[in-house]
């Protein structure tokens, strides 16, 4: 029962917030809360990688972008001129393509959103796997720099490739039809529905990660973080476990990218930017590294504030500042700061030094 309590509280809070926006006629907040939920999905995945397994990634915006860009490109690029090609015909027979009409009435043949989403997430997982094999041998700063390099590559590819729309990105991404008649789209009439889809996805993702941490695998990951040599001596295949958790967190980022792209109806290169990766690391740090609830809370609050424009044009600067302040004053996250305990500790130390002197 104790396991379920935080989840129940979270579900209660999600419903309560929606009801409050309904009553107070502030439904427009739901848009940013929906987007914040998707960013949070990436953030909790990163929290498990960084806080529990102890591996940093400054390339998670890259995985987010791989998910988002691939599903956007596949669901928007018209394949009608290739419809004689064997591959396209085979895809059509498998039911992976859908034909529609664009707003001007010409016919469109594109990959179905679910198939595109699946391909995008699998691509992100595969790339994470291939990247992880060499770079996860690195530690600390070296791993941070290698993943940063990866993030820069994804950003520059998105910016340079006409397939991904260069500086304009990709727009007019169609809605993502889900079972039970639900659809991920930015349509105003579906705002409440999408708020619940986003939070539903996030809560499922959270439950899966909580289960993971509280298991044999989670213990092994924490052991790798605390004392890699001892973990290895206990029979933990550290390289394999690090690689798997890296892939899982990349999949979380890619799923977030897929959903948010369909919700926004498009994606641009700024989503792949290095500052985005830094921001995610900053949020995980604020939440307290090995603290999923903290990462979730801070992810929602800070993403929401940023999306509402609270930080104005200083958005990235604020996240840089947050990172510095957190590292200096609360390396275990703001939730670890118990003001009363700090005051008591300071008084105690003063008294000790007085008695000593």
């Amino acid at each position: 029962m104790r396991r379920l309590l935080p989840i129940c509280l979270l579900i209660g809070a999600v419903v309560a917030v929606q009801l409050v926006t309904e009553v107070s006629d502030t439904r427009y907040y739901l848009t940013q809360l929906t987007m914040a939920a998707y960013y949070c999905l990436l953030i909790i995945g990163l929290s498990v990688l960084m806080g529990y397994a102890g591996q940093i990634s400054l390339g998670h915006a890259g995985f987010f972008a791989i998910g988002g860009y691939l599903s956007a490109a596949l669901t928007t690029h018209n394949l009608i001129e290739y419809n004689q090609a064997g591959l396209v015909q085979a895809l059509q027979q498998l039911g992976l393509l859908v034909s529609t009409q664009d707003i001007y009435g010409s016919s469109l043949l594109v990959v179905a959103p679910w198939a595109a989403a699946l391909a995008a997430v699998c691509a992100a997982a595969l790339i994470a796997w291939l990247l992880g094999i060499p770079v996860l041998k690195l530690k600390g700063h070296y791993l941070a720099m290698a993943t940063l390099g990866f993030g820069i590559i994804v950003y520059r590819v998105a910016l340079a490739s006409s397939y991904f729309g260069e500086a304009d990105g990709i727009s007019e991404v169609p809605p993502f039809q889900l079972p039970f008649g639900l659809a991920v789209s930015g349509d105003f009439s579906a705002r409440v529905e999408n708020y619940y889809i986003a939070w539903g996805v996030l809560i499922i993702g959270l439950i899966l990660l909580r289960n993971l941490i509280d298991s044999r695998v989670g213990r092994a990951l924490r052991a790798i973080h605390a004392a890699p040599e001892a973990a290895e001596a206990m029979g933990v295949d550290t390289a394999r476990f690090k690689l798997k958790v890296f892939v899982i967190s990349a999949v979380y980022a890619a799923v977030a990218g897929v959903f948010l792209t369909h919700y926004n109806g498009g994606i641009g290169p700024s989503e792949a930017g290095v500052m985005k990766s830094v921001r995610y690391v900053a949020i995980v740090a604020v939440g307290g590294m090995a603290n999923l609830n903290g990462a979730l809370l801070m992810g929602v609050v800070l993403s929401f504030m940023s999306l509402r424009g609270v930080f104005g044009t200083y958005d990235d600067a604020v996240f840089g500042l947050i990172l510095i302040v957190i590292m200096l004053f609360a390396p275990k996250g703001v939730l670890s700061l118990n003001p009363l305990a700090r005051v008591r500790a300071t008084i105690g130390r003063r008294r000790l030094s007085r008695e000593g002197g």
Partner: protein, 251 residues
């Protein structure tokens, strides 16, 4: 054949010949000690056996199979557990969780099974908990099960490390200076503990500086000096060995 067999083991670090052509065997059911002055290559020898550092030459055979090229986690899963000279417990984890990591190779739930909390995984989790608690009970640590492991007193941390290694259900246990930093009472306790481990059918190879402990509990002693084996015998004969006395006390 011996449970563990070292054949002409070499390790060079640059110009330093840390382990120089060392060969000996550890028979099943024995307690064997490796002694030698500081820098004799004892810990390096341990690291070669457990695969932590690769050997420059020679062979390590464990239960008749060559483990010289294997990774530490593979060697551990064959039933070779170890403790560390400078205790390496998992910080931010409870004593119970530390011991449960020791059961890693005796369990199998993977990433997907863990994330979905499959019934088989939950059953296994309950089994691991029970087994870990039994082990703690045997070592008199049950009261500390939920304490953070690194918050315990030094002697207790050593005991937790031993419990963690025993959780692996090893056939060979390597102890790197199990009595380092302990007072004489704690040292005597560790000696009793090691003897009781041997009575459970576990073969023990240890590195130790405390001569009284070594002479008390070991069946055989190997002496290293500057990376070379200079003697191998029963404790009584080692104490009479001229070469050993010269190495320890000077000319």
């Amino acid at each position: 054949m011996a449970l563990l067999e070292l054949r002409g083991l070499h390790k060079r670090f640059g110009g330093l010949h840390a382990v120089n052509d060392v060969s000996f065997g550890v028979e099943r059911g024995l307690i064997k000690a490796v002694i030698g002055p500081n820098g004799a290559g004892k810990t390096t020898l341990f690291n070669l056996i457990t695969g932590t550092v690769p050997a420059s030459g020679g062979q390590v055979l464990f239960a008749e199979s060559d483990i010289s090229r294997k990774k530490p986690h593979q060697i551990a899963s064959l039933g070779l557990a170890r403790t560390f000279q400078n205790i390496k417990l998992f910080s931010d984890m409870s004593v119970l969780e530390n011991v449960m990591v020791g059961l890693h190779v005796r369990s199998r739930t993977g990433f997907i099974g863990s994330m979905l909390r499959m019934p088989a995984g939950r059953r296994e989790e309950r089994r691991l908990r029970v087994q870990a608690l039994q082990l703690l009970d045997r070592l008199g640590l049950s009261d500390f099960a939920d304490c953070e492991a690194t918050s315990l007193a030094f002697g207790q941390q050593r005991a937790v490390e031993l419990a963690r290694a025993m959780a692996l259900q090893p056939s060979l246990l390597l102890l790197d200076e199990p009595a380092a930093g302990l007072n004489i009472y704690e040292t005597a306790e560790v000696g009793r503990l090691i003897s009781s481990i041997r009575e459970q059918g576990v073969t023990v190879l240890l590195v130790e500086h405390d001569m009284s402990l070594v002479m008390d509990i070991s069946d055989e002693v190997v002496v290293l000096s500057f990376g070379k084996k200079i003697a191998e015998d029963v404790p009584q004969s080692i104490q009479q060995n001229d070469e050993v006395i010269r190495v320890y006390l000077g000319e």
